[in-house]
Amino acid sequence: MSVTAEQSETTRARVLEVRDLVVRFAGRGKGRRARAVRAVDGVSFDIEQGEILALVGESGCGKSTIALAVMRLLEPTSGRIISGGENLATLRGGALRQARRRIQMIFQDPFGSLNSRQTVFDTVAEPLVIHKLGATPEERRSMVMDALELAHLRPPERLAQSYPHELSGGQRQRVAIASAMVMRPELVIADEPVSMLDVSARAGILRLMMDLRDQLGTSYLFITHDLAVAWVVADRIAVVYLGRIVEIGPATRLVERPAHPYTAALLSVSSGDDVGPDGELIEALPGETPSASNVPEGCRFHPRCPRYIELGKPEQCRSVDPQLHVIRPRTTTNEDTSALSPHEAACHFSSEES
């Protein structure tokens, strides 16, 4: 990726830098048949303070694996994960535990992620206990109540005593948010936080995440399959295909002018633009995403790529693995830095803007 250190003076503080992250799993089978699963295949990105970066992609593209690797809930094969001046990828034991205070995670399933035998109070207090925070029980109690209040769980005194089964899906996800926020993290990783909620509860949770960013300057790595939701919530969007970021840039820019043909296909099906002149739906992309244990040579997207066909199947697409390159550089002012971040795409035929 082409974001370099000298550009950082025009930006806010970085809370996370991921460089060349690779996560491979051992393949099944023996000898030659055992092909490694390249779940994350060289991913780099930054998140600034108070910024929401969305990772958008289909299931199996590696977006959740990226999140788990950043949390060190699974071991990265290689790469650097820099937060607070430390490389989380190599930290061990107590140092890793310390570093983890800064990053908290919210999972997709608010029914599975809460302990059904614990009250809301105990759930939210648990991270404080683990990290030995809050000197007195009173102090701990007030930290928990503040977190419940932050997550709009009102009245906090009453909700603190309830059990998960007494709560709606939306309330449970607020409890998960409260137990993340009780640590006052710099960065929250939210993995499909609204996918399992009723339509009616979704907007409230997304709004809450955005409010917490505005109030406390919390940054988010927001993982979603839904481009439209990413567009509304995030400052920047990274589109992930088969273990790689294929396009990254300001959310509005990416939706207005997608540079990678995969982004364009996602956009056309998500916006309903995939309709022919006679009203019949046009298939936006043929076939299916290949397995991460069998990543195509050259550009990993070329077997399904409409642009590859249009251009008469150029040899380059079959032989050279395209890297992210700048489509529009960072605009250098000190204002809303996210909207002015560079727009990059990994396609041989996404040309630079003059």
Binding site: E58, S59, S168, D198, V199, S200, A201, R202, A203, G204, L206, R207, M210, H225, D226, L227, A228, V229, W231, V232, V233, T252, V255, A265, L266, L267, V269, S270, S271, G272, D273, D274, V275, E280, L281, I282, E283, A284, L285, E288, T289
Partner: protein, 328 residues
């Protein structure tokens, strides 16, 4: 004569010692070749409505009123033998989560073959095998993949196989209940494109049931919006959702909330407020409008009197007190 005519259909479920009316006097029509979408939240009665057409409601459900006519055959009160002759040949269905309904230990082509022979015992073996390949081709599964086991297929491929099976006996009506839920966006779009092209090539009428307004919009000519067991709005897709690139024309506050619930990439970049609260408990009596408790524009009359069904334009109706007021 319409292909499907449902009149005043009510479906009751026995629950504990009481009962619950999941579908309450619903009427709808589907013309030959037409695709109708039924949209609503979970628990609104849309699945019960779909299951009642092939008479596949669970054991604790009964049809307590109304009539269902399919190509002029009255289905309510028909015996099992008669119904079995119509199932698959006149009406076929793809259920919610159908892609997990395939037999895991049998090859896909074999399962489709069985579906054909079960409903057409006279079919010659060779002819049926030919039909299997035709069907797989129709849904976009290459002949080389025909002998695969379901676990070798992705979710989208399994859903294609289920659609192939449903079309085995050339039904005139396909009922598809959440056919794309649980699929990825690109696979979803592929299945919707498939349904949309099958409508034309196979002269198929479709009753599509979904919580996803955008999926319905992409396939269906007309829309029925259900809330808590009743139809709150119906009209052509254009009447309810507007023409492409134009804003929606939905008249009912519930439809408007459903439309606003998902951001429109071609609209404004804003997070809509969403819809507070939950649908009412149908095992308890409700006075007035069922949506009143969640409605941003509820008036006192809404909690007292059931709203009238108002015709907004030809073919576009909605049941809401606000409309009456505007019209008066």
């Amino acid at each position: 004569m319409s292909l499907l005519e449902i009149d005043n259909l009510s479906v009751d479920y026995r629950v504990g010692t009481g009962s619950l009316r999941a579908v309450d006097h619903v009427s709808l029509r589907i013309e030959a070749g037409e695709a109708l979408g039924v949209v609503g939240e979970s628990g609104c009665g849309k699945t019960s409505l779909g299951l009642s057409v092939p008479m596949l409601l669970p054991g604790n459900a009964t049809i307590s009123s109304g009539s269902i006519k399919l190509a002029d055959h009255e289905l309510v009160g028909m015996n099992e033998a008669q119904l079995n002759r119509l199932r698959w040949t006149a009406v076929a269905f793809v259920f919610q989560g159908a892609m997990n309904a395939l037999n895991p230990v049998q090859r896909v082509d074999r399962q489709i073959l069985e579906a054909i022979s079960a409903h057409d015992s006279h079919a010659a073996k060779e002819e049926s095998s030919q039909r299997v390949l035709e069907l797989l081709d129709l849904v976009g599964i290459a002949p080389a993949r025909a002998k695969s086991y379901p676990h070798e297929f992705s979710g989208g491929m399994r859903q294609r196989a289920m659609i192939a099976m449903a079309l085995a006996c050339r039904p005139s009506l396909l009922i598809a209940d959440e056919p794309t839920t649980a699929l990825d966006v690109i696979s979803q779009a592929q299945i919707l494109a498939l349904l949309s092209s099958l409508r034309r090539s196979e002269d198929l009428s479709v009753l599509m049931i979904s919580h996803d307004l955008s999926a319905i919009k992409r396939v269906c000519d007309r829309i029925v919006v259900m809330y808590a067991g009743v139809v709150v709005e119906t009209g052509t897709t254009e009447q309810v959702l507007g023409r492409r690139g134009e804003s929606a024309l939905a008249a009912h506050p519930y439809t408007q909330a459903l439309i606003g619930a998902h951001p429109d990439l071609r609209g404004e970049r804003v997070l809509a407020p969403g819809l507070a609260g939950h649908p009412p408990d149908l095992s308890k009596p409700i006075t007035g409008c069922r949506f009143a408790d969640r409605c941003p524009s509820a008036m006192s009359v809404c909690r007292e009197i059931v709203p009238p069904t108002v015709t907004i334009s030809e073919g576009h109706t909605a049941s809401c007190h606000l409309l009456k007021k505007v019209g008066a």
